[in-house]
Amino acid sequence: MNPANYVILSAVLFSLGAVGVLVRRNAIVVFMCVELMLNAANLAFVAFSKINGNLDGQVIAFFVMVVAAAEVVVGLAIIVQIFRTRRSVSIDEPNLLKY
């Protein structure tokens, strides 16, 4: 199968994730969309690794997974705190930090 197709799939997944982040209000869903974007990026790395015939992309994919796991821990903790104070996980509601 042509490796370029994996890159196209990755772009489609990334765009889906991005649109999800922009249009959804639920923090959990936004979070999942961010994960989707990260994994799209991982897919692109692995695809490029295959195309170029070296392992650099695969190594970076592992790094991204580790960072994503750490980010999930922090992010979920923040979301839980927001839910505890506001009884809601809409990300439009905590908007006090502004001009």
């Binding site: 991005a18 982040v21 922009l22 439009d92 908007n95 502004k98």
Partner: protein
Amino acid sequence: MSPLVLSSATLQEVTPATGVFSLIALLIGLPLLGAAVLLLGGRRTNKWGPYLGVLTVGTSAVIAIVMLVKLMALPSESRAIGESLYSWVFAGGFQVDLAFQLDQLSMVFVLLITIVGTLIHIYSLGYMSHDKDKRKFFGYLNLFVAAMLILVLANNFLLLYVGWEGVGLASYLLIGFWQFKPSAAAAAKKAFVINRVGDVGLSLAIMLMFVTFGSVTFSDVFGSASQASEGTLTAIGLLLLLAACGKSAQFPLQAWLLDAMEGPTPVSALIHAATMVTAGVYLIARSNAIFDRAVWAATAVIIVGLITIFMGATIGSAKDDIKKSLAGSTMSQIGYMVLAVGLGPIGYVFAIFHLLTHGVFKAGLFLGAGSVMHGMNDNVNMRRYGALRGAMGITFVTFMAGYLAIIGIPPFAGYWSKDSIVHAAFEKSTLIGVLTIIAAGITGFYMTRMVAMTFFGKARWEDDAHPHESPKVMTIPLIILAIGSTFLGLALLFWGNIKTWLEPVLGLTEAETALPELAIIIITLSVVIIGAIIGWVMYARRAVPIEAPRGSWLTRAARQDLYGDAVNDALVVRPSYHLARVLNWFDSRAVDGFVNGTAAFVGGASGRMRKYQSGFARSYALSMVGGAVIVVLALVLVRL
């Protein structure tokens, strides 16, 4: 004109100080110490402070007299004594020592300053006895004496400059001594500011000397003056003349001296008649090596001197304020000295001669005027005097001695010195000689006017005036100065032999005159007596109105100091005011406008920009995505 005797000043060998001459530093140090104790000691010294002030200056005078005796015993070629205290400025090739030089010229100045200074200190004990700040007064006077001694004893121009500024400071402090009077405060400021103009000339001259000669000591500068180009020497000479004009109240920087009379009368006598205002004459005479080689500068000196002689005499003839009239006369007499130093080697010696006699008789006249004011409730208006010769006999007699000396009646002191200057002027050119004679006639007029209005005629006293003679502490200095006014000329000329005394420092040339000497003397005396008779007829025979009559245009102009202030105002004050306004406009509009405009733009722009900090996380995300898209698009486009 063929020179009969030619002797230009040669640089004297300076011998190191020994014996009493090693006390040169003490000569200056005593008054300086007195000033320090009086000014830093505060009120604790109120009681004995004034006496300490008199003591320090008096001791200096005694040391000076001992030095004179020792100096006279030395052979004339080794009368220049040098004493170096320590190396003061030391930078690369530039070296200046804190060093003094006592030679024949400095010696006569030191004597004038310390002896007249002592007399005026004693007089001030009486004159200032009711002033609660008299300790400060004596502190300032001591400071002045110390600075003036530094000025005349320095062996380089930088140290001379220190003294020059020091006397300027003391003059400022003393003119403004009664600073609660706005007029005195303004007069002090005016004197200081106008003096600064001259000081700039001196500092530029010193810089030019350093650039040209690589040194500022007298011996180096004058020793290598012949190697410098005439253009440079003329520039230095003109700058020194500017300095002299400021300090000596010569045209065009004369305006401050008349206002300086706001100070207490002993100050006017010591600083603004006898010593400080003659510093300009000293400066030019000391720099004779430069002026001898710069013809144009010397000519400028003559012109300045001539203009000032007549300006001062005119002002002196019109003022009703006795001190201002005397101030005009001081300007005029210093004009004589400046004229004489401008004449070159034919005049230097006589300029200093006149300076010495003038220092004594003018101090006497000023102190006499102070004694009159003291008896008349500090009234200075001569139209309210009259017939005072009965009420204050000693003041009258001593004043008359000064009067006869200044108008130049033999054998009084001023006759010998002024006659010498007139004669020297004739040696230079008959025109200058005739002008000096005319000015001598005006001197006769205004001094007679002053004496007639003050001591003769009818009493025009104010109702509460009870004229009385001043206390002994004031009259004794007057008597001593009157004796000086009478005999000093004779003594210096024949016994002290001032010509051969000063000749090694200043040089002395004699030339033939168009008129025989006796004719000049007779013409001068007749003109003076005619002037005096006119003054007598106008102011003693006729009644003096208490209200000043309107007078001719010249009188009105002279009452306004010949519009000196108006000219300064039009030429300097108002243009600089307008320039300042334009600059201020430029600064506040253009410079500040640009700076503030930038700030306002940034501020306004950020005010709008911050609206994008909406607090909605999704809108930030949109910006990020938008930015990323733009970056990717840009990369793609560039690659294409």
